[in-house]
Subunit: 582 residues, 2 copies
C-alpha cells in the first residue's frame, strides 16, 4: 500500500533557502508573526495529523467509494472522522480572514498544507477544498448579511461548500448554462435546473452544505454575460443561524469514475430551491472567476501532492526491491540505471514543480497584502502568469509520475494493493477539472501573454536572466537555460503577433508552448535550488540536488527546443482537414 | 460507452499499398493462396465477428471482473460464449501449422486479427493469446508425443494455455525462480512451487488448461541456466486424449488490478503436480524465449489495438460534441485547434505504429518461410531489431493515447460509462508484462545494436536512406527525416562504443534512445504512407494522410533530437548518488 511521509525538510528548504519566505513576515504587517519558524512549526504539526489520520484513509476510500441510496450519499469509512479532526484543528481556516473565524495566516502556508493533504488522500482533500473555495467566492462578492450567515460556519468547516457550475451540455462552454433563477419577490430566488460533476454535492459529514450556483435570471441575455451567482443552502439557515428547513434540492445520482472514488461526484437537481444572489446580477462569471483562479492554483497543488506521493513511494520500493544485479553488482533495483532514470525524472519534476507552486502562492500573499501598491501589481502579474502553469504542469506531471511509479514497481505496480496505480487514476481528474489543461494553455496564450502589452512574460524573462549572471561553475546550468529562455522569448513574440492574424496557429501550439514555458521555469528553479543548496549542511542533500539538477538540465530541459519548434510548424492542412476525413 | 469499428480500409492500405503484402503469396510457396484479396476477405470476416460479438463484452468485462471462490474462477458474462465462437470459427489457429489442425496462413494475417481483437476487448484477447503462446512453445521444443497430445486441442482452442514464469521474488529476474521439478522415475516430473501473475491460470471456459511451467531440477545450477520447461495440464490427458484425473495444482487467488479486469490473473500453486519436460533440461530459458519474442510482438499488437480504440472513439466524440465556438465559428469540438492537435497526434501515432507492427509481422513470415536463406536472414535481423520497438512503442503509445482520449472527452472522459478511461487502465499492463518497456530498451541497446557487428541498425539506416532519394515535393518530409536518421546513427555508434566502457551511460539513455528510434521509424512510415496515398482514389483519404504526416513531421519527429541529446549527457553524479540520498 502507498504510504506518505511529509517531505518537511524539502518544504523548509524551498520556503526558506530558495524563496525566502521570511519576506512575508518582514514586509507584511498582518503577517508579522508568521515568521519562517512559526510557519515551519505549523507545517510539522499539520504533517503529523495528515500522516497519522488522513493518509490511512486513502486506500480504503478508493476501495469503498461513495454510495447513493434514496438521495442519501455515504462516504467511505473514516472520512467523517478525518474531516472532523482536520476542520476542528483549524487547518481549513488557516488563511481565511480573521473577520470570519479564520486564522489570517499566509495563503502560502495553507497551500503547503494542501499539498500534504493531497498527497495523503486527494479524494478526501476535495471536501475541505471546495468548502474553502465556497468561502472565498462568498467572501469576495456577498452582502454582509450573507457573509455573517455563512462564512463563520464555512471557515470552521462546520458547514461544507460546493461549486455548481457544469451542466451536461455546458462543460468548458460555461455560458451555455440553462439553470434558471426566478425572483421570489422577497429578495430570494427560486433555482431550477440540473448540474453535473458536483464535488461534495451531498453527504452527511457536515450539518449543512452550501451550494454556490451559477444560474440565469429570466430576463438575462444568453451566454456568459447573463449568468448570476447564488448561495443555495441544503438546509435554510434559521434566524439563530442554525440549519432549518430542507431546501428543494437533492443529489439525483453519483458518478462512477476512474479515480478519486472517495470523493462523491454528484448530479444535483434544483427543484425550485431557495437561493440568494451573491454579487451583482449578470456578473456571475466574474464572481466565479475570483474563486476559479484560486481553485486552479489549488488543483496545481493537488497535482504536486500526487507527484510527491508517486515519487517517494517509487523511491522506497526501488530501495527495498531486489531483482538481479546492476552493473555495479548491487541487487536493489535503484542501482539499475533505467530505474534511477525514472526516479530522477520524478524527483526533478516534483522538486522543481514545488518551487513553482510555492513561489506562486507567495505571490498570491504579496498581491493581496503587501503595503506597496507597486509590489502588489508585480505580484499580481506573476499570479496571473503562473496560474495556468501551476495548474497544467503539476497535474500533467502527476499523471506522468503516477505512470512512472507503476513502471518502477513493474508488474506489481498494476496490482491494486500496492497503491501506486491509484495515483495514476486519481490524478487524471486534475488535468480536467477547473478548466482542462488545454484551456489553461489557451488562457496562457490568448490572455496572459497579451495582458499589459506582454508585460507578464517579460517579467519572467528578466527574472531568469538576472539569475543567469551566475558564477562560472554553474555554466552547465546557465548556458542551456539561457538558450531556453532566448528561444522561449522568440516563440512568445511570434505567438503574440501570429495570434492576431492566425489564431489557429497559436491554438495548435498552445499546449506545447505551455509545457516549454514550464520546463524553462523549472530550469530556473533548479538553478536557484543548486545555489541555495550550496550552503546546506548535509552533504548527501547537496549531492542529491546536484545530481537531480544535472538530470533535469541534461535530460529534460532539452525538450524545450522540440516543443517550441512546433510553434512555427505549418497548420494550413491541419485546419483545413474536414472532420469527416479524420 | 466506447465502441469499435474495425479500420479495414486503413488495414488494406497498409498491407497492400504501403507494404506490398502480395509478396507473401508470390515468394512463399506455402502461402500461394494467401493473396491480398484472400487476406483482406478474411480480415473483413474477422472484423464482423469481432465488432459484433467481442466488442460488446468489453465494458461488462471491466465492470464485472473475475471472481474466485474455493479455487474456482468465474469470468465475466459473455466471455465463455465469445471464446467458443472465436475459437470454433478458427481465428485462433490462423497461422498455426496445418500439421496440428492449424490453418497455415500467414502470421501477418493472425496479427492483424489480433490487433482487432485487442481493440474490441484486450482483456478477453489474452485467453486466445496465451493459448497460442503455449502452442508455439510446445511446437518449438516438445517431443512428437507431447505435440500430438496437446497441439491439436490448443490449436482449436478446445484447451487453453498459460505461461507460468513469474514468482513473487522473481519478476524481471527470471533466473531467481525456485519452483522445483523432481523426477518421478516414469519420465514425468513432480512440480512444486508458487507462480504469480498467471494470465488465464484458472477458469472453466475450456475443458482443460495447459500450463507451460518454468522450474528447476534438484541438481540444476542456480540462475537462468538451471531452468527447464514443463507442460503441466490441469487435467491429465487419458490414453484416448480426453481430460482425465485432476492434477495437483490450483489457483490460490486472483489479483485485483488497475485494468484488464476481464482477464483472470492468478496466483497458481503447484503441489506436486505431474508434468512432462519440454525440450532439453536446463534449456528452459531458451525455450521460453522462443515464445517470449513472439509474445512481445503480440503485446505490441495489443497496444496497437488499444491505440486504435482510443483514437477512433476520440474522433467520434469530437465530431459529435458541441461546446462553444471554434475560431472558424463551428461548434463541434473537433474544430478547436487544441482538440484537433490531440486527434492528429493520436492518428499520427496509431497509423504510424500500424506500419511498424505489420512490417514486423511480415518479416516474421519471411524469416520463417521464405525459400531463400539470404532473405530469411535479412528478415530475421528485422524481426530482432523491431521486436523491442513494436513492444515498447505501441504500448507506451496506448497509455498516452488512452490519456489523450480522456482529455478529448473532458470531464466526461473520467466517468466510467464513457469507456475511454478503461483504455488508459487496460493499456498500462502492456508496458509491464513480457518484459517492461525499460527491459525492451536494454534488449535494444545491449543486444540488438551489438548483434553481428551492428548489422541490424545499419539495415534500418540504409533502408530509410534509400527511401530518401525522393522527389523534391516531399522534401518537407525527407529533409527532417534525413537529419533524424543521421543523428540516430551517430547516437547508435556512440552507444555501441560507450557500452563497452561505461554500461551505465547506455543504461541511462536506453529508453530515450528507444523512443527516438521508434519516432524515426515512424517518420519513415509516414514518408511511405504519403507516397502510397498519392495514387489513392479518395481525395479525403489523401488529404488526411497529408495533414497527419505534416503533423507528425512538424510536431512529433523533432522530439528525436531532444531524446538523442540525452545519450551523451553526463551520468557520473547520477550513478554515484547513494540510494539513501534519493
Amino acid at each position: 500500500m502507498a504510504t506518505y511521509q511529509a517531505p518537511t525538510r524539502e518544504i523548509g528548504f524551498v520556503l526558506n533557502d530558495v524563496l525566502g519566505v521570511g519576506r512575508l513576515a518582514k514586509d507584511i504587517p498582518a503577517f508579522a508573526e508568521a515568521t519562517p519558524d512559526m510557519l515551519l512549526g505549523l507545517v510539522d504539526e499539520a504533517a503529523k495529523l495528515i500522516e497519522g489520520q488522513i493518509a490511512p484513509t486513502n486506500h480504503v476510500g478508493d476501495a469503498q467509494g461513495c454510495k447513493i441510496k434514496d438521495g442519501n450519499v455515504t462516504v467511505p469509512e473514516g472520512f467523517a472522522q478525518a474531516y472532523k479532526m482536520y476542520s476542528e484543528a483549524g487547518w481549513m481556516s488557516l488563511c481565511n480572514t480573521t473577520e470570519y473565524d479564520g486564522q489570517g495566516l499566509p495563503y502560502t502556508l495553507a497551500k503547503v498544507v494542501e499539498e500534504m493533504l493531497a498527497s495523503a488522500n486527494v479524494a478526501f482533500s476535495l471536501y475541505p477544498g471546495l468548502t474553502i473555495g465556497c468561502f472565498e467566492a462568498i467572501y469576495a462578492n456577498a452582502t454582509d448579511q450573507i457573509k455573517q450567515t455563512y462564512l463563520p460556519k464555512l471557515s470552521t468547516g462546520q458547514w461544507s461548500g460546493t461549486m455548481c457550475i457544469t451542466e451536461s451540455h455546458a462543460g468548458s462552454d460555461v455560458g451555455a448554462a440553462k439553470t434558471k433563477a426566478t425572483p421570489n419577490g422577497d429578495g430570494s430566488y427560486s433555482i431550477e435546473g440540473g448540474k453535473i460533476f458536483i464535488t461534495s454535492g451531498e453527504h452527511t459529514m457536515t450539518e449543512n452544505i452550501i451550494h454556490f450556483v451559477l444560474a440565469r435570471l429570466p430576463d438575462s441575455p444568453p451566454g456568459v454575460r447573463g449568468l448570476s451567482t447564488f448561495v443555495v443552502p441544503k438546509f435554510i439557515p434559521k434566524a439563530d443561524g442554525t440549519p432549518g428547513e430542507r431546501n428543494k434540492l437533492h443529489a439525483a445520482n453519483i458518478e462512477h469514475k476512474m479515480g478519486i472514488n472517495g470523493s462523491c461526484t454528484c448530479v444535483m437537481q434544483f427543484d425550485g430551491a431557495q437561493g440568494w444572489m451573491v454579487g451583482e446580477r449578470d456578473t456571475g462569471i466574474q464572481n466565479m472567476f475570483v474563486m476559479m483562479n484560486l481553485a486552479r492554483i489549488l488543483v496545481g497543488f493537488q497535482g504536486l501532492g500526487q507527484c510527491e506521493l508517486a515519487t517517494q513511494n517509487a523511491i522506497r520500493y526501488a530501495i527495498d526491491r531486489k531483482q538481479g544485479k546492476a552493473f555495479n553488482g548491487k541487487p536493489e533495483i535503484i542501482e539499475h540505471p533505467d530505474v534511477r532514470r525514472m526516479l530522477l525524472q520524478m524527483k526533478a519534476t516534483t522538486e522543481g514543480a514545488r518551487v513553482l507552486g510555492y513561489e506562486t502562492a507567495m505571490y498570491v500573499d504579496l498581491s493581496h497584502h503587501h503595503p506597496d501598491a507597486a509590489v502588489r501589481e508585480v505580484a499580481q502579474d506573476w499570479v496571473e502568469l503562473n496560474t495556468p502553469l501551476v495548474k497544467a504542469f503539476c497535474t500533467d506531471s502527476a499523471v506522468e509520475l503516477g505512470s512512472l511509479a507503476i513502471q518502477v514497481y513493474g508488474g506489481h505496480g498494476f496490482i491494486t494493493e500496492h497503491g501506486v496505480e491509484q495515483i495514476a487514476r486519481d490524478s487524471k481528474i486534475l488535468c480536467l477539472y477547473e478548466g482542462t489543461n488545454g484551456i489553461q494553455a489557451m488562457d496562457l496564450v490568448r490572455r496572459k501573454l497579451m495582458m499589459h502589452n506582454g508585460r507578464l512574460p517579460q517579467r519572467f524573462f528578466a527574472a531568469v536572466r538576472k539569475e543567469l549572471n551566475a558564477d562560472a561553475p554553474l555554466g552547465w546550468i546557465t548556458r542551456p537555460l539561457g538558450r531556453a529562455v532566448d528561444e522561449l522569448e522568440s516563440a512568445t513574440q511570434f505567438l503574440i503577433e501570429s495570434f492576431k492574424t492566425s489564431p489557429d496557429t497559436a491554438g495548435f501550439a498552445a499546449v506545447d508552448y505551455q509545457r516549454a514555458f514550464c520546463l524553462t521555469y523549472l530550469g530556473w528553479n533548479w538553478l536557484r535550488m543548486v545555489k541555495a543548496a550550496a550552503s546546506h549542511p548535509d552533504e548527501g542533500f547537496r549531492k542529491a540536488k546536484h545530481a537531480t539538477a544535472e538530470f533535469f538540465i541534461g535530460r529534460m530541459l532539452p525538450q524545450v527546443h522540440a516543443l517550441l519548434g512546433t510553434v512555427r510548424a505549418p497548420t494550413e492542412s491541419l485546419v483545413e482537414l474536414d472532420a469527416a476525413n479524420f
